[in-house]
């Protein structure tokens, strides 16, 4: 029930997404991700409009890793940082990482080749219910997203919330 997306710029690399609801062990998961037992980015789905947002962040993270210009310590933390509209790292983790009070989580894995074992391992560790990616919009908090990304009404009217959010993410380092 995961979805995979190829990164065209980096042949062989794919972004795999798994969405979980009713998660009972967020604190444990967060510790495992920070300790390196889970080699994936764990994201709070409330701040996500669409999976495309995560794929854009993952592509940028792999790019910055390739040229040696990541702002954070690992590829997974870089994905979380890239989702944020600001350049403040701790703020990004607070908004887009999972917190101990969350009950849903989006698992993002950038893999080269076969990742089925890693996926199975992660599934094992999450004490929750895996749901299709199509359910992502039911978990997002549109009001909070608008506020966080400072999307103006005229901007949203023009091309929708996802466009505005993605554009802000992609341009944040020169604004």
């Amino acid at each position: 029930m995961h979805s995979s997306h190829p990164l065209e710029l980096f042949p062989g690399r794919t972004v795999t997404l798994m969405l979980f609801k009713c998660v009972r062990n967020p604190a444990e998961l967060r510790r495992s991700a920070m300790g390196g037992q889970i080699t994936a980015a764990l994201i709070n789905p409330r701040m996500l409009v669409d999976p495309f947002q995560v794929i854009v962040a993952a592509n940028k993270a792999v790019h910055l890793q390739t040229i040696g210009k990541m702002k954070t310590r690992s590829l997974n933390s870089e994905i979380i940082f890239n989702l944020s509209p600001t350049n403040n790292i701790s703020e990004a983790f607070k908004r887009f990482g999972i917190s101990d009070a969350d009950d849903s989580v989006l698992v993002v894995l950038v893999a080269t080749g076969d990742e089925s074992q890693t996926l199975a391992d992660i599934k094992e560790k999450v004490d929750g219910e895996q749901v299709p990616m199509e359910e992502l919009p039911t978990l997002s908090d549109v009001t909070q997203i608008r506020k966080l990304y400072k999307v103006t009404p005229q901007e949203e009217k023009m091309g929708g919330l996802l466009d505005s959010v993605v554009c802000k993410m992609a341009t944040k380092d020169v604004m």
């Binding site: 997306h5 710029l9 592509n59 790019h63 009217k157 023009m158 466009d163 505005s164 554009c167 992609a170």
Partner: protein, 239 residues
């Protein structure tokens, strides 16, 4: 490392199709992150000193990205930026699908009205262009290369009334509040407009009227435009 990082994008682009090649950049169309995407690559200019070239190219890439975001924030339609690679100077932009350039639209409409030439059907479009440019200038974005080829009409619903105007190619754009800069921006458009579409003076007049009526700061800009018409785009360097 320098070589390797540039390989990633150039290898990707070698498989895409070149849409256009100008003096400043090449434009490709390809699928990127599952979407149809326009990639604008500012290639190295061999005739410039490498350090100067790098600096100028970087600055222009940054400037383009900034102007696009500034326009979008104000609700002026421009393509979404998906990704920017500041090492190979590539901007990955939304492909405005199902669109025609204003240039082709004007030419086709005039063709249709032949042999009894009339500009009346194009007046609403001219007025729309004037309004959008007024809003852009009110945000202090100066486009730098206004032509009817750098404006797209996108079908956003059904019927011609639903066409929305999208501004593209902010490669020469910059931020300025000076009426002088905005006046030159309009002057460049006037020159391009009247040479691309001969005998359309009333149409451009309509565009300017609409610009003047929509912008809060238009009177100073129009005054400057009149000055620029007399002297040309460049200011006198005497004195």
């Amino acid at each position: 490392m320098e070589l390797e990082k540039n390989m990633v994008v150039s290898e990707f682009l070698s498989k895409g199709s070149v849409l256009k090649q100008g003096a400043e950049a090449r434009v490709y169309r390809d699928v990127f992150l599952g979407r149809s995407t326009i990639i604008k690559e500012r290639f190295p200019k061999k005739y410039r000193h490498p350090l100067l070239d790098e600096k100028l190219t970087h600055r222009r890439t940054v400037q383009e990205v900034r102007s696009i975001q500034r326009c979008r924030r104000a609700g002026i339609p421009t393509p979404v930026v998906y990704f920017v690679d500041y090492t190979s100077h590539c901007i990955f932009l939304e492909d405005i699908v199902d669109s025609v350039t204003v240039r082709d639209h004007i030419a086709a409409t005039r063709q249709r009205s032949h042999p009894s030439p009339t500009l009346v059907p194009l007046e609403p479009l001219a007025a729309r262009v004037g309004r959008v440019l007024a809003r852009m200038h009110d945000e202090d974005v100066v486009h730098g290369d206004l032509t009817t080829s750098n404006m797209l009409l996108r079908r956003s619903g059904d019927g011609e009334a639903e066409l929305s105007l999208v501004l593209i190619d902010f490669g020469l754009s910059y931020i300025s509040a000076l009426p002088e800069d905005k006046g030159v921006d309009l002057y460049v458009l006037e020159k391009a407009f009247l040479s691309t579409h001969p005998n359309t003076e009333p149409l451009f007049q309509k565009l300017l009227e609409s610009y003047a009526a929509s912008s809060k700061k238009s009177s100073a800009v129009i005054k400057k435009l009149d000055e620029v018409r007399l002297r040309g785009r460049k200011r006198s360097m005497v004195g």
